[in-house]
Symmetry: C2
Subunit: 235 residues, 2 copies
């Protein structure tokens, strides 16, 4: 291998590392948005909610920059199969994080009409659900940073806890609505917020599957369905 090829390969690796760093930063911003969105639900702070909504643009911009960077990198270099896998995975992970940011912004957006109607106590169930989802996203970002397939597997496996918390909250909200029809409007907002957070858990598992695939070179066993609401029949 001559020095020139060596140099190209080295800087390619450096660019991949830089890319990975940007994706992790983007993910940290998305988790911060999720935590802020739950905070504004609790505080019923309309202006803070609007700030969370507005901040989502920064995540969208980061995703555009990352994916344009990936495409330009691919156009200028000819990576090998294993590198291609990592590059391709980076595109997917960035797209999952962008959607996590979208869902977090939607939770904040829903809190605005919610703050105008009667308070409903299941809001604490929403916080619990959000904490589980935020912990999953943080863990999967660590797994991505460290290329740690075992840690990614744990996130994938533990998504069932997020789903169970969602299903419990779903049933609780339905009971509230049946007992007190005046709570229907606010409970409907809480239902959509809960669904948004449950979907964040699904995107964390998508990222976990990607990490596993890049590290192990084979798909994670019994892949989860990618669609919304995998446990809809149990609701």
């Amino acid at each position: 291998m001559n020095t020139s090829t060596d140099h190209i390969i080295k800087s390619y690796d450096q660019e991949l590392d830089r890319l990975r760093g940007e994706i992790v930063r983007m993910g940290e911003l998305a988790v911060a948005q999720l935590e802020a969105s739950i905070d504004v639900v609790e505080r019923r702070d309309e202006r803070a909610a609007q700030r969370v909504v507005d901040n989502d643009d920064a995540i969208d911009t980061m995703e555009h920059e990352i994916s344009h960077g990936v495409v330009r990198l691919l156009a200028l270099r000819a990576p090998m199969a294993s590198d291609l896998r990592a590059v391709f995975s980076a595109l997917r992970v960035a797209s999952d994080i962008e959607r996590i940011g979208d869902y977090a912004a939607n939770v904040a957006k829903r809190s605005i009409p919610l703050s105008m109607v009667a308070p409903v106590s299941p809001a604490h169930g929403l916080k619990h659900l959000a904490q589980l989802a935020a912990a999953s996203v943080r863990k999967v970002l660590n797994a991505y940073r460290e290329d740690d397939a075992d840690m990614a597997y744990e996130v994938w496996r533990d998504d069932v806890d997020v789903d169970e918390a969602y299903n419990a909250l779903f049933r609780e909200l339905l009971t509230y609505m049946m007992e007190d029809p005046r709570s229907i409007t606010s409970c409907t907002h809480l239902l959509f917020m809960a669904k948004n957070i449950e979907r964040i858990g699904d995107h964390a598992t998508n990222i976990a599957e990607n990490i596993w695939f890049v590290v192990k070179g084979e798909p994670l066993e019994a892949p989860r369905k990618k669609g919304d609401e995998p446990h809809v029949t149990h609701e």
Copy 2:
């Protein structure tokens, strides 16, 4: 330009055309899934609903093949800026279609628990909403096939009709729930189904924005927010 370069450029264009054809076929499959999902809601056919859910795998597989093909193409060739824009847009459009397929499968999946509970008359409002969304997706696929920015603009502009139909259905379902608490479970499923279809409209507008950007070289004016539920405060 020598013959060899000419040959490479020509086959690059051919590959882009082939890619475009695959994406349109994938889109047609997604629209067919949307139409089938509404059909199973009306007929309350649980087995047919399960077939729609299962068919979503075919769309996911097509998206994976398309995006892997794109990445391989980029790795092997060095396209120019304008080609890069088209290639990049193809990745985005395929991703939007994959999500349209997901949402259609979710509508079908929701119809299974719905068929076990009391019937609710707003189901016809759901059909109307789905017809509007399906028409948007068909039109934006035509615009993509023909590189027609004006047609894409019409889809983008007319998404407000999908949003209005969604908001009307949302209010109708809330009224039903308040008037008859026994309808709450089925109306909740219908709410989520309506939201899934409204999101399909948003993905059609994302595709429209992509077409506009590739043809015109600049973003469509006053870009729509990409998040879920852009009109949540009007619900």
